[in-house]
Amino acid sequence: MTETAVAHPTEPAVRKATPGEARAPRRSGRRRIALPYLLLLPALLLELLVHLVPMLMGIAMSFKELTQFYIRNWNEAPWSGLDNYTVAIDFDAPVGQALLKSFLTTCLFTVLSVGLCWLLGTAAAIFLQENFRGRGFLRTLFLVPYALPVYAAVITWAFMFQRDNGLVNHVLHDQLGIGDSPAFWLIGDNSFWALLIVSVWKGWPFAFLTVMAGLQNIPRDMYEAAALDGAGVWKQIRHITLPSLRSVNQVLVLVLFLWTFNDFNTPFVLFGKAAPEAADLISLHIYQSSFQTWNFGTGSAMSVLLLLFLLVVTGVYLLLTSRGRKTSDV
């Protein structure tokens, strides 16, 4: 409603103002053009310093035989060419095998986690669109996981997942009587699900927040019109809400994907330095390869490979979604 109502009356006004506005940039000339770049400069410099330089150093390290013998002055580490890369992707040897397994685990984990985060966040946001008693309270409550410091939240989960004294087994086994004996959550195969639960718990409020913001932009009268035409809630969600949220969702899914794929804090705090095999996410795997076995060269090579993978995925994703948007714009 607001869009159409505002657009029409301003149109002539804009047209009238054109000559006057056109004069403005001419008057301040070059300064006006330089200003945005000047404002961007500090951020660019910091970006260079904080991200780009370490990144280039990391790439350089990946071509060196960097072990504890050279860590003090890594420039002196002998050049090893592509050795680190061949070790990392030799899928017949344990290092490559473990990397591949960790990569596949991370892919599955990311798909499940992002999917569930999105689903929960969207459902909660749509549910909280209606005005009812206690809406404010629920909105605040839903954001709690997002507001808590990661470390504190995840360590609490680690306590709850303990086999003998944890709350999870207390409820599942002692009270509900599920399973013959209490399950392990922090070691063995279940660790994957434990990690997924914590990841979704931690991640969905961001989806909720983003989708809720996106929902504010959908004109209410579209729903009213649809309701008049006899569309039910599901039809409204399918034909109005979801299409309108498209651009929001594109960014949301991309950001969640990158965060989840690279998540280091959650597995590190939950499992410590050595994650169980079933929950060996790639970031912790690379950390272990670099900092626990002091094989910084191979660790860097793994990081570069991960980076290339994420770049390709992100690139393809952006290409697909922007193409989709162009056709839908027409």
């Binding site: 970006e47 904080v50 991200h51 370490p54 990144m55 150093m57 990391g58 390290m61 504890q68 013998f69 860590i71 003090r72 890594w74 070790v87 040897a93 344990p94 290092v95 473990a98 303990q162 086999r163 003998d164 004996s181 209490p182 392990f184 922090l186 070691i187 063995g188 195969d189 991309l254 990158l258 965060w259 690279n262 280091f264 410590g272 330095k273 050595a274 169980p276 095999e277 690379i286 272990q288 390869s289 670099s290 900092f291 626990q292 076995t293 002091w294 191979t298 660790g299 860097s300 793994m302 990081s303 570069v304 991960l306 980076l307 994420l310 770049l311 992100t314 690139g315 952006l318 922007s322």
Partner: protein, 434 residues
């Protein structure tokens, strides 16, 4: 615009991917000769306890020399990474504590001051220290990278009341007796012996000693990893079998890494535990010194000694000086002070450890039976972990293999010689190639 956003997203993903390789900065080292920075490892029940123990001694040092020592107590989980970071950046403390098993690994980075004859002379000479403690200060044949500060050894602690209830007259001295006693103890939700299945370092300590008992060293004489020898496989299997085959370890111990096995012991849930100087933890958990007994850690047969009768690793903490300290003179003075008889007695008493300094060991305070066991073990039947540069990696990869095997055992999966060997094979191939 879209391209810019793609670029920004790309940059963000790049930077995220690189968090694993980027290094943080360390603490600034002091250039003033009147101050020193000291990183202490966590020895007491908490970081606060350590500060309370150490600060008065540091104040005393300041009074004597006019040098102020800035203390930072660092938890074990962070210590090695902090040292590595300081090594990379060159911004470290002047003096630091290291786990003595890391000596050779950290020596190989070249960041620590070598204790050549001249430096050793400044602190009273090599002969002040017990031999076994000196064995964990760096690669043999090289100048030590650190000096011993506190010594510890493993011993078998047993719960007197639980032994009495189970009708066990004598505490076990051999593995067969441990298993027999363990089986008597393992009933009504109680277990025979506790392990810390997810604690990588503890796993290494235990399988290293068992390895010695099977004649395996985990490294060849020329320092190459040798994790899959028959002896090494048998040692690891024997340790896992305490849970998998003998069933005298509660399955829950597979996920223990925060000394939960000591809590179980103090709460009368576990009858025995193999540990290094746990008395403070026992008493902080409400277990009085009269409630537990201590005997030397078990051996295959007979009495503890060398070789197959080795029953402990040489555990302990060393004191090292960062090579690029701006206050070498002050650092040497500090090391001399910390290894003096008086300080050794005060500090080792506070931490329940044994002084690695011969003359301080003579203090009657270290004659109590619980400490005498440790002292004798260190003197006669303890062996230093392999002093090779790759020791720290060995802890990680083999410690993880043992953790995974415990997870298998806890889940009821079979643990066989083949499955143990496969895990160790994988661990060995994860070691950096030279």
């Amino acid at each position: 615009m879209r391209r810019i956003r793609a670029a920004v997203t790309g940059a963000v993903s790049l930077s995220l991917a690189f968090t694993a390789t980027a290094c943080g900065g360390g603490e600034g080292s002091e250039s003033s000769p009147k101050t020193l920075t000291y990183w202490a490892s966590n020895q007491g029940a908490s970081l606060e306890v350590d500060k309370k123990v150490l600060q008065p001694e540091l104040d005393q040092f300041e009074k004597e020399t006019g040098i102020k020592v800035k203390l930072e107590v660092i938890p074990w989980s962070d210590l090695l990474n902090r040292i590595l970071t300081a090594t990379t950046s060159g911004q470290g403390p002047d003096i630091l504590n290291i786990g003595n098993t890391w000596s050779a690994s950290l020596q190989s980075t070249g960041a620590l001051l070598p204790w050549d004859a001249k430096n050793l002379e400044a602190i009273g000479g090599k002969d002040r220290f017990v031999d076994s403690a000196l064995g964990s200060t760096g690669v043999p044949g090289k100048d030590p990278a650190a000096v011993p500060l506190y010594s510890m050894a493993y011993a078998l602690y047993y719960n007197k009341q639980m032994f009495k209830d189970a009708g066990i007259a004598e505490p076990p001295t051999t593995w067969d007796e441990v298993i027999a006693a363990g089986k008597k103890l393992s009933k009504d939700g109680k277990a025979g012996i506790g392990v810390e299945g997810s604690n990588l370092s503890n796993n290494i300590h235990q399988v290293f000693v068992l390895g010695k008992q099977h004649g395996a060293d985990f490294f060849t004489a020329d320092g190459k990893p040798d994790f899959t020898s028959d002896g090494a496989v048998a040692a690891v299997k024997q340790y896992i079998d305490l849970m998998a085959a003998q069933k005298i370890v509660a399955p829950g111990n597979a996920e223990y890494a925060q000394n939960q096995s000591l809590s179980d012991f103090a709460k009368n849930k576990t009858g025995m535990v193999l540990w290094q100087t746990p008395q403070q933890t026992f008493s902080s958990q409400g277990m009085g010194p009269e409630e537990w007994g201590v005997v030397p850690a078990p051996v295959p047969s007979g009495k503890p000694g060398q070789g197959a009768q080795t029953n402990s690793m040489v555990a302990g903490i060393n004191l090292a000086v960062f090579k690029n300290t701006k206050n070498l003179d002050g650092a040497l003075k500090f090391v001399k002070y910390m290894t003096s008889d008086e300080e050794q007695i005060v500090l080792n008493k506070a931490y329940g450890s044994v002084p690695p300094v011969k003359s301080a060991q003579k203090d009657p305070g270290f004659g109590a039976p619980s400490l005498a066991v440790i002292r004798d073990t260190l003197a006669n039947s303890a062996a230093a972990l392999p002093q090779v540069p790759e020791e720290s990696q060995f802890e990680t990869v083999v410690g993880t293999a043992v953790k995974e095997l415990f997870a298998d055992a806890a889940a009821g999966r079979p643990v066989t010689t083949e499955s143990v060997k496969a895990r160790l094979e994988k661990a060995q191939q994860q070691m950096p190639k030279k």
